[in-house]
């Protein structure tokens, strides 16, 4: 049968029941729109985070300990990378800078008469504050009571912090330490961002005097400063081989190997490794949430099947007429499948822009840059069409099996 004629009959039928068709299409629209919304939002979040890290941190290799099994996370943050390790890492071919990092627990930070409770300070070298990350002021100086804060932290106080502001750090035992803010940095750029892509207020200070962890170096036999994490800046073109060399050093000769337990794995991850891991996690979340959207598509499909069954019953006589004038079973089936596919396609066509719109709104609300997920959009349209066809198959098969004699007698 002429496909255009079948389409014509289907369109007339859809138009003949405007309200019913609209309600059915709305079901599919909601399904497709939610899939597209979640997919778009996921893509936006991913693009944002990957963009943040990927831009400037590709050459950063993060060195840290991770539990070999799921237990013992507390051991991981123990300071195991000694000053000797830092020196040896610096000597590895392809390494341009090594930034040891320590975490300093600060019970609160006070500026003027305002206090921020439960803060954490990152201790690092002045070279970790790269010029491209400094918004105003300068990096802190080693050995001085100086700190650098990110823009979030600067804005966290009623009177915004600027270079030259004075803060008081209160430690857990109640002792107070006055410090001077030397600069404000953009937390998403430079050598440190991996610890703060979550965009929290951050404060950074020099290792001397803030980081006080000391262990006895097994190789040197003397007590040295030790750090839980190290960032290695590699020459951009030699990241992979440098990473391998670092891993070899860590697992064979390092003090960290001696100091950390057998159940701790020492790893070196490049910025792109993190990008991949984070992308994987976001992908999984997106897939899961989108799966929930698919449920509403299934509900929409049931709606189509239901309406098509009603339509078959209502149009029994028409089916009889078509058969009397020469329609074969597959012709009748075609008419009804096309009608169902039409409803599904209409739902897709309306659902996709709606989903993109809501996704755009959600991205704006979450303060991430909007990004499209084209493969999901194509998939949504295909699924909409498929849902229509599948939902229409059984009703159409019922229609095809109608006995023309009974159908022509049908009132």
């Amino acid at each position: 049968m002429d496909g255009r004629e079948a389409l014509r009959i289907a369109i007339r039928s859809v138009r003949g029941h405007k309200l019913r068709s609209t309600l059915t299409v709305v079901g599919i629209v909601i399904g497709i729109a939610s899939v597209v919304t979640f997919a778009t939002f996921g893509a936006s979040v991913q693009a944002e985070i990957v963009g943040d890290i990927g831009d400037s941190s590709a050459g950063n290799i993060y060195v840290f300990g991770t539990p070999a099994d799921d237990e013992g996370f507390d051991r991981v943050i123990q300071p195991v990378f000694t000053a000797g390790d830092i020196e040896n890492l610096t000597g590895i071919d392809g390494v341009s800078n090594v930034i040891p990092r320590g975490v300093v627990q600060v019970s609160s930070i006070r500026a003027g008469n305002q206090t921020l409770a439960r803060q954490q300070m990152t201790a690092a070298t002045p070279s970790s504050i790269t010029p491209d990350s400094v918004v105003s002021g300068t990096a802190f100086t080693s050995g001085e009571q100086e700190v650098v804060v990110n823009e979030r932290m600067a804005r966290a106080f009623r009177e915004n912090l600027t270079a030259g502001s004075t803060l008081t750090l209160v430690s857990a035992d109640g002792s107070e330490r006055p410090v001077t803010v030397t600069g404000i940095i953009n937390g998403t750029r430079g050598a440190l961002p991996i610890s703060n892509f979550a965009r929290q207020p951050r404060i950074y200070g020099p290792i001397d005097p803030f980081h006080e962890s000391v262990v006895e170096s097994p190789s040197a036999g003397v007590r040295q400063r030790a750090y839980p994490q190290v960032t290695v800046i590699a020459e951009p073109r030699r990241i992979a081989e440098t990473k391998t060399a670092i891993e070899t050093y860590l697992t064979t000769e390092s003090d960290a190997r001696e100091l950390s337990g057998v159940d701790t794995e020492l790893v070196a991850r490049s910025g792109s490794d993190f990008v991949e891991e984070i992308s994987d996690v976001i992908d999984q979340i997106t897939r899961f949430v989108t799966g929930i959207g698919v449920i509403s598509l299934v509900v929409g499909a049931i709606g189509i099947a239901n309406v098509m069954l009603v339509s078959v019953t209502e149009r029994t006589r028409e089916i009889g007429i078509m058969k009397a004038v020469g329609a074969r079973n597959r012709d009748v089936m075609g008419v009804f499948v096309i009608e169902a596919a039409l409803l599904g396609t209409l739902g897709s066509i309306l659902g996709v822009p709606l989903g993109i719109l809501v996704g755009y709104g959600a991205a704006g609300y979450a303060d991430v840059t909007f990004a499209l997920a084209p493969e999901w959009i194509v998939l949504a349209v295909v699924v909409g069409l498929l849902v229509g066809v599948l939902a229409g198959l059984y009703p159409a098969w019922r229609a095809a099996r109608v006995d023309p004699i009974d159908a022509l007698r049908h009132e």
Partner: protein, 275 residues
């Protein structure tokens, strides 16, 4: 209005007129036995368009019901036959069997040389669409298709190109006097106009046989007369017609009346001379 339309070649453009010689003797014994007046049994008669040979039809509704019991008849090409009988006589069953809507329990039905009784569903659909034109009591037009689309519908299933379909449908609508109603929906037409659309549709595939089931049952007397006039014209143009009716005056337009009762042919009445 009806008298004004000319029977165009569209109504019968390749089947009619050619009096093919028939040397085949059809089993028309039951017809001859009941009336003894006709049946295209002799050589020189036109070929039979429809042959029903000892056809029986049983239904099982609780217990077994025999709707038709060994009925045989044949319709000569170009003949105009009426089937009369009370309701429940089996005349509708006979119509369904000849129309290829149903299959007999035993016996054979041949329409235009094609075995309807042994054909599968798709083959019967093709026979219905090309060899048979149905005219129903309740018109049975597609409610959401326009007059011209309704007329063209059989041609859709026969695989005609759209331009050709429209051309033929427009010509047929003009023939039945509805040239100015082509784009109207059935609901916008009167009963008589609808029945004329249905007749045009029946003629669309240039069928070997036109089957009408109580064609005047749902229209007023005047309109019914108009429709019967159309049938006369179709007959005059050489079409083969079979009309099922319970109204004597409708049946009398035919040249032969077959009386069906209790699933058998009771009598065959020839009217050719009377007209």
């Amino acid at each position: 209005m009806v008298g004004a339309w000319a029977v165009s070649t569209l109504l019968c453009y390749d089947r009619c007129g050619a009096a093919k010689l028939d040397t085949h003797s059809y089993p028309s014994h039951s017809v001859s036995e009941t009336a003894g007046v006709d049946g295209p049994t002799e050589t020189g008669q036109p070929e039979a368009t429809v042959v029903v040979d000892t056809v029986s039809k049983h239904y099982t509704v609780g217990n077994r019901v025999t709707a038709l019991d060994a009925v045989s008849l044949s319709l000569a090409e170009g003949s105009y036959t009426a089937i009369m009988g009370p309701s429940g006589s089996g005349k509708s069953t006979l119509l369904n069997l000849i129309g290829g809507l149903d299959t007999p329990s035993s016996g054979t039905v041949t329409v235009d040389g094609q075995q309807v009784s042994s054909a599968d569903e798709d083959e019967r659909a093709a026979i219905r669409g090309t060899a048979i034109g149905f005219v129903f009591q309740t018109f049975n037009l597609m409610p959401r298709l326009t007059a011209i689309e309704n007329v063209a519908l059989p041609l859709v299933f026969d695989g005609w190109a759209e331009a050709n379909r429209r051309e033929r449908a427009a010509g047929l609508l003009a023939d039945v006097g509805l040239a100015d109603r082509t784009d109207h929906l059935p609901a916008e037409l009167s009963g008589g106009q609808r029945q004329r659309v249905a007749i045009a549709r029946a003629l669309a595939p240039d069928p070997a046989l036109i089957l009408a089931d109580e064609p005047t049952g749902n229209v007023d007397t005047d309109t019914g007369g108009d429709i019967l006039d159309i049938f006369d014209e179709l007959h005059a143009a050489g079409n083969t017609l079979l009309v099922v009716t319970h109204e004597r005056h409708v049946a009398e337009r035919a040249d032969r009346i077959i009386h069906v009762e209790d699933g058998t042919v009771r009598a065959t009445e020839s009217l050719t001379g009377a007209k």
